[in-house]
Amino acid sequence: MTHQFSALIVILPLVVSFFVFLSNWWLKKTGYLLALTALFCCLLLSIGILDLVIASGVIHYRLGGWLPPWGIEYYVDTLNAIMLVLVSFLSFLTAVFARKSVEIEIPEKGALFWALYLLLMTGLLGIIVTGDLFNLFVLLEVASLSGYVLIAVGEKRSLFASFRYVVIGTMGASFYLLGVGYLYITTGSLNMVDLSLLLPKLYTSKVVLAGFIFILIGLGIKTALFPLHGWLPDAYTYAPTAVSAAVAPLMTKVMAYAILRIMFTVFKAEFPVTVIEVTDVMVWTGTLAMLVGGVMALSQSDFKRMLAYVIVAEIGYIIGGIGVANATALKGAVFHIINDAVMMACLFMVAGLIVYKTKGHRIDNFIGFFRVMPVTAVVFTVGALAVIGVPPTCGFFSKWYLLLGGIEDHQWFFVAALLICTLINVALFFRIFDKGIYLHAHGQNLDAGVAAIDTPGNDAPISMWLPALVLALVILLIGVFNQVIVETVIRHAVPAGI
């Protein structure tokens, strides 16, 4: 039974999503429960897979019994396993959180929303688990297409944002597919492990180079790597709260994972680092992404939009860390993928709680929220401190590894940008602390704030704040147990040969 886990984790949400879809016309109420159960089972399965991988090493699962490289293979090592746990854990918590906000924001969609949500998770889990380049493309499109639709059901402006995302996202997917085609011409294989054996002889080939660059640009668009991030801020700002809390932390991180996979599994570390030296470019784009993301975030008056630009900056940390390409920085990058997903999910949930109370997500809506919503305030404080990188929250430790890695490799601009970005984050979040705590300093804008709408101590319903509080706890726990996590899991997730 256990060896089927890696296939079940994709098949389960896929099959259940059809039943959820049908339940919309039959038993409306069961749709949500079905989806929640499926996501919970995914969480259990992913924990089972992680346990299996730690105990007995890499899992190769052959779909339909076809031997690789002819059949599609699911390939799970420590890196995938921990990503699986991350995605299924966050998607489950967000589903718990989202019930109320979906009921309020998009009441007429109901079960259809949950069917799409499950399809999105199918795509994301599939991208992580698959060991086949073409299969990755298909699942990428499954995730993206459901993402487009989920974003489009949001506020009024979300339609146009989603349309832009469709156009740019399809461009990215087409580039990726083209790159896969180039690799297929030269090697005749689509299996990642098989490719990694066939490619080293061809590292000087121009076709392989073109294929690699196409794949990297395609995935870069999907990761929202600066300067390809244009679609992200609008899409994540106007999406429904439940969607931005799920899509924003996960989609970009899973794509960053795919970049890691391509660079260090399909190609060996030698190719990107020494043969074509693409990692230098990545350090620079990462550095620029941090600075641009940070500065743009500073100039926003909308909380969700600000978070969207923070994501652009965080992607800069991850890609820059991959670009530095020594063991310490890569540990930092992998660790930051996990931490950033948790932090962003936490903060987007805070945005959701504020939307629940005030129907808006501008920073002015936060005025006085410490008094009105004590639990939200605690969650927000933990999340904000994590993004800034204050110990003992998890954000500190991944940044620490990235910094150490940068110093080891003498990437001084990267190190400087990291520190500057941290300072910018301080400014970003203390602006909100200021609005949240000190009521009387903001005489003229008071009406928009949560304090003007509600009485002190009257927080959002428990089904909404509990998942957020759990995430805040997770942020602290990852921080406290960072050494255990890095030593038992992340260390093995770092690609070999660096």
């Binding site: 493309f137 298909v138 499109e141 297409l145 489009a152 146009f160 399809t170």
Partner: protein, 132 residues
Amino acid sequence: MIVDAVTLLLVSKINYWIYIVLMMLGLYAMMTKKNLVKKIIGMNILQTAVILFFISISAKNNATIPIIEHGQTSSHSGVQAVDYINPLPHVLMLTAIVVAVATLGVALALVIKLFNQYGTLEEDEIIARLEE
């Protein structure tokens, strides 16, 4: 001599040239056209270009469709890879076509919604309305 070489390059690789032209056309339409439907058409042309690329890499000279007919080459197994075009890219592209159709469907649905909301399909008019 040079003319011959150039024509050879153009003619023998005509499928790749067409794929490049189609791809550029698609990208051009997606980036410069103001009309949303034209953007979608550009998107579809781009996807078709990728499909053409994949299909043309499977072609071989003097090869037939990959349906095995025993005894055709008179040897016992009857199967020589050179006699058959590579079926795998065709299969991959069937999936890619499905993906392209699904993307087209989502994009068109979004355009209908956008038209209902703004009464126009011109990008600049929609942006002007958004900035109001």
